[in-house]
Amino acid sequence: MTDLLTPFEYDYMLKAILVSGLIGGVCAFLSCFITLKGWSLMGDALSHAVVPGVSLAWIIGLPFSVGAFITGILAALTMGWIKRKSALREDAVIGVVFTSWFALGLLLLSLYPSHLNLKTIIFGNILAISDPDILQVLTIAGLSIIVLTIKWRDLLLYCFDEAHARAIGLNTGFLHFLLLSLLAATAVAALQTVGACLVVAMLVTPGATAYLLTDRFGRMLVIATLTGALCGITGAYASYFINGSTGGCIVVLQTLVFLTALIFAPKHGLLATRRLRRLATQSFTPTSMEKAGAAS
């Protein structure tokens, strides 16, 4: 029993667990919008595109999050610009731009090593996060939460029906940019927790899990945020025992929760849909007979 409590005796573990939980929650909140808008690839792209910013910020002497955020936004703007000016498909443009950005980041990191080494950036290393970095992460997470709680209804409307949002006078250009900025900001915040390669999981999986469990957006937000935060906390805690990559543990846990929801979800799960289909085939013959009888 005391063994289970050992992680909490270490200061760094406690910090890691709390920061993971917070970031897991914020990313999960945003993931509801990302999954519904169909922006998963964008999440993956921006989480890779922030990498050169880390290196550039180090060279100039800025906080890493500022540089990372700026390159993330720049990448998004480049994608938009090339998309408008060419006949290429959107996914292809995103692929070209984010890999270029990411390659640039890798090259810069190999030429000018920064305070965050390559492995930390790619896989995250929440256990070794420094206090100034924690402060940056907390600031980003706090700002994102404030913006999201104020603007979530507008963002929901923008994701659901852009034409209507414009008709009633919302600035959809601004909302588009806001969602991109939030995406870039949370990608930066999650960078040290799970690393550039796995950020997209934090930005997609909790939303999809919640989407399987409910048909109401409000509930979806609550379920996703809870799942994200709990997986963050539990994953960081578990990584102490299996002595493995913290980011990996968090994401594996989120995937397992998703798979559980996929199978057992009350209405949209595999078992439920299978049962419904069976009921439908069983009752098909009698009801259609009845209808035919009633009609004649």
Binding site: L41, L88, G95, T205, S245, L262
Partner: protein, 271 residues
């Protein structure tokens, strides 16, 4: 040190030859991926091969076999979950590949084979071992010949699957053929640019070519030419600046893409 110095080293010559081979395989496949809209699929499969590699290492199998199997598993799992639920395909893909990548990562830290992880992730074209080289060449040659033999069928499948089915092609089979080719290509280029950057090799050449031509045959040729050129340029430049080779290759690809982009803009404006 002059401009010919790199060619005096046997490992550089070898690296240049491999990059020609891999550059052409990736370029040919990228034309299909770009037209089919499968860029994210390339990204997903390339990350998903990680657990396959680790498991193959644990079982003592060739790494390429494990990687190929894991790549196919990712594609099939995505297709299956997509068919069973109302979740959008891109989301499903994101979940499956990150889940597999994370699993591979956790597994990896337990197995302790640190020597290879960086090579798998970022490529190591300047120092490929004999056995790995053989795997790379076999994977590349098989993939390239299958694509070239089936190129007409695959094109039809990408352009109009309904018609392909109507004239009696087995579209389900074609779907899996294309997925297998994708996995094969990723396995082949893994050693050169690493699994994190393979997707660039699989998307950028096709886009570059698409900007310059409206004909599929010409697109294949332009893509191959630009990809081979970029690969050689990347290897060559990385020798001088001493930076990650994979990143240099990808940035050379980007440079060619930007040139093509500028050219196509300039052309449409002058017309």
């Amino acid at each position: 040190m002059n401009w010919l110095t790199p060619l005096q080293y046997p490992f550089m010559v070898e690296a240049l030859l491999i990059s020609v081979l891999i550059g052409s395989v990736c370029a040919v496949l990228s034309c299909y991926l770009v037209l089919k809209g499968w860029s994210l699929m390339g990204d997903a499969i390339s990350h998903a091969v990680l657990p396959g590699i680790v498991i193959a290492y644990m079982l003592g199998l060739p790494l390429a076999v494990g990687a190929f199997a894991a790549g196919l598993f990712c594609a099939m799992a995505t297709g299956w979950i997509k068919a069973c639920t109302r979740i959008k395909e891109d989301t499903v893909m994101g979940i499956v590949f990150t889940g597999m990548f994370a699993f591979g990562l956790v597994l990896f830290t337990k197995v302790q084979t640190d020597a290879h992880l960086n090579h798998i992730l970022f490529g190591n074209i300047l120092g490929i071992e004999r056995a790995d080289l053989l795997q790379t060449i076999i994977a590349a040659v098989i993939t390239l010949s299958v694509v070239l033999i089936m190129r007409k069928d695959l094109m039809l499948f990408c352009f109009d699957p309904a018609h392909a089915r109507a004239i009696g092609l087995n579209t389900t089979l074609m779907h899996y053929v294309l997925l297998s080719l994708l996995s094969g290509t990723i396995v082949a280029s893994m050693q050169a640019v690493g699994i994190l950057l393979v997707v660039a090799m699989l998307v950028t050449p096709g886009c570059t070519a698409r900007l310059l031509t409206d004909r599929f045959d010409r697109m294949l040729m332009i893509a191959t030419a630009s990809s081979v050129l970029a690969s050689c340029l990347g290897v060559y430049v990385s020798f001088f600046i001493n930076g990650t080779t994979g990143a240099c290759i990808v940035l050379a690809q980007t440079l060619l893409f930007l040139l093509a982009f500028a050219t196509s803009k300039w052309r449409t404006r002058s017309v």
